[in-house]
């Protein structure tokens, strides 16, 4: 047998490329975000340590709170529809076994499109004068500059674009339900909706929690859609937290404050991730 020392050496060599990239492009930036948030810095230069001053500014900053409000409004408009529709699509794909490949393909295809392809198509369809949507509805609305409609329209486009992924999660969940459970239910005389209510739905509960939390985290990370379609407008009603962070850092070159925004954002996302882990563990403990 080869010595332990040589095994250790091989391990180090095999790990080196990943670890180098990990430290340089993940670990250090993560620690730097924390440090930067305690300084007054421009995009390229760190000037002064200011302690918690950026956080003090943050909690009194109406622009930050409104961006957070917009982020949660977007999440509210997307999380439930994306999860519910994902489940419905999964049930349909699972039901029509002969057409499942075609159905799944149709529902999933938009998900693989680059974001700017999605936004270009949405923009073309929603053009005030020549867009097909206004033609069909017989109106002349400029959707993206309408205070009431801008965010819902971005949300609808996002649902179309990403629901395929949630469908996939639910399909996997459905396929993991043991056949015997359905057979037992059939013997007990359960049919149609009762099968769904008493077998499928409870069995899908952990998957549903996973899908909801993954979706909530994904929705909170929204940036590209609003940035490209509305550039945060009209009147900043679609400027989300990441957009605010981006502007603070890259337009106003206030990297210290942007890092504080990033820390607040990171805190929310990590808390949600941990909440999901706890929720799932609790359910497993009870089962």
């Amino acid at each position: 047998m080869r010595g332990r020392r040589s095994e250790m050496l091989s391990a180090m060599l095999l790990l080196l490329p990943f670890m180098a990239a990990f430290v340089l492009f993940f670990l250090l930036p993560a620690l730097q975000t924390l440090y930067l948030s305690l300084t007054e810095s421009s995009l390229t230069r760190t000037s002064a340590f200011v302690g918690l001053a950026n956080y003090d500014t943050l909690i009194h900053d109406p622009s930050f709170w409104s961006s957070l409000g917009n982020t949660f409004y977007f999440s509210l408009l997307t999380v439930i529809p994306l999860t519910a529709l994902g489940l419905v699509m999964a049930l349909l794909v699972d039901h029509f076994t002969k057409a499942s490949g075609w159905l799944q393909g149709a529902f999933f295809l938009p998900y693989v499109l680059p974001i700017s392809v999605m936004t270009l198509i949405a923009d073309w369809m929603l053009q005030p004068s020549s867009g097909i949507v206004n033609h069909l509805l017989g109106v002349q609305r400029a959707w993206f500059s309408d205070v009431d409609w801008a965010m819902p329209v971005v949300a609808i486009a996002t649902v179309w674009w990403t629901v395929g992924f949630n469908m996939l999660i639910f399909i996997a969940g459905l396929r993991n339900i043991p056949r015997e459970q359905y057979e037992a239910a059939a013997l007990d005389g359960a049919r149609g909706f009762a099968v769904f209510r008493y077998i499928t739905w409870p069995a899908l509960m952990p998957v549903t929690i996973t899908a909801l939390v993954l979706q909530l985290i994904a929705s909170l990370k929204v940036f590209g859609q609003t940035y490209i379609m509305t550039t945060g407008g009209p009147f900043n009603t679609t400027r989300v937290t990441l957009h605010y962070m981006y502007e603070t850092a890259f337009t106003q070159s206030d990297a210290g404050y942007a890092a504080a925004v990033a820390m607040a954002f990171m805190f929310i996302v990590v808390a949600l991730g941990l909440a999901q882990a706890l929720l799932l563990r609790k359910r497993k403990g009870r089962a």
């Binding site: 095999l14 039901h95 149709a106 693989v112 020549s130 850092a249």
Partner: protein
Amino acid sequence: MKHTPLHWTVVAAVSALALAMLWVAPLLWALSTSLRPEYETIAPTLHLLPQRWTVEAFTKTLGAGNVPRWLFNSALVALAVTAVTMAISLMAAFAFSQLRFRGRNLLFMVSMLALLLPFEALLVPLFRTMNGLGLINTYAGIVLPQVVSPVVIYVFRQFFDAVPNDFRDAALLDGASPLRVLWSVYLPMSGNIVWAMAIVTFIAAWNNFLWPFIIVTSNDMMTIPLGLTQTYDAFGVRYAQLMAAALLGAFPVALAYIVFQRRVTQGLLAATGLKG
């Protein structure tokens, strides 16, 4: 489900068909738009199909402007990200799974921390790092941060953990180096999952918008998702050309998905931890 009552089947069939049509309609509309002459896109009456079919929008898009260059950049970046991610993740996962060394679990846990922290929150210091390294507007600058993919390592490690140790021990006894064992014993066994993760990585890299948006400022270095947001300036409001450019930008990933549908779904599910 054979016990479903008839009326449910009808409701399900109608909603399946309606939803599927609704979901492909925008893509078909984009395709239909891209195949007409420009004047038809602003005509007052709307026709679902082109009145005159033409591929002019495609030839113009490919013949002028930056679209070919952006497509080339995207292909180069996506292939590089995929190759590097696969190589370094396979090596790291093999070490984490099959080799014994001090600090193994701690190192693995620290790497998995990256699954929790959102990449988006690291943009500012990441930009500063790249700026310090002089990598703004370079291919290396676009590629490098995208190769850190803890989820790929996690999936590969799960896979390697499931392989019986006898394989490794026999090969090591024969005097093979760990890299040799990884290459000729483990890799051939893990073909499916490697392909699945590679295709998912390729699609994600092709579609990545946020990082190129931060690191690229010059028109020549843009990838197609980023470049497409600039096309208004280039084309004005020429919608046939815009749709042609959009479809060209989506074509490689749509093709990858259609050809490798199984692997894409397998890879995505493995990545969410729902299926090994």
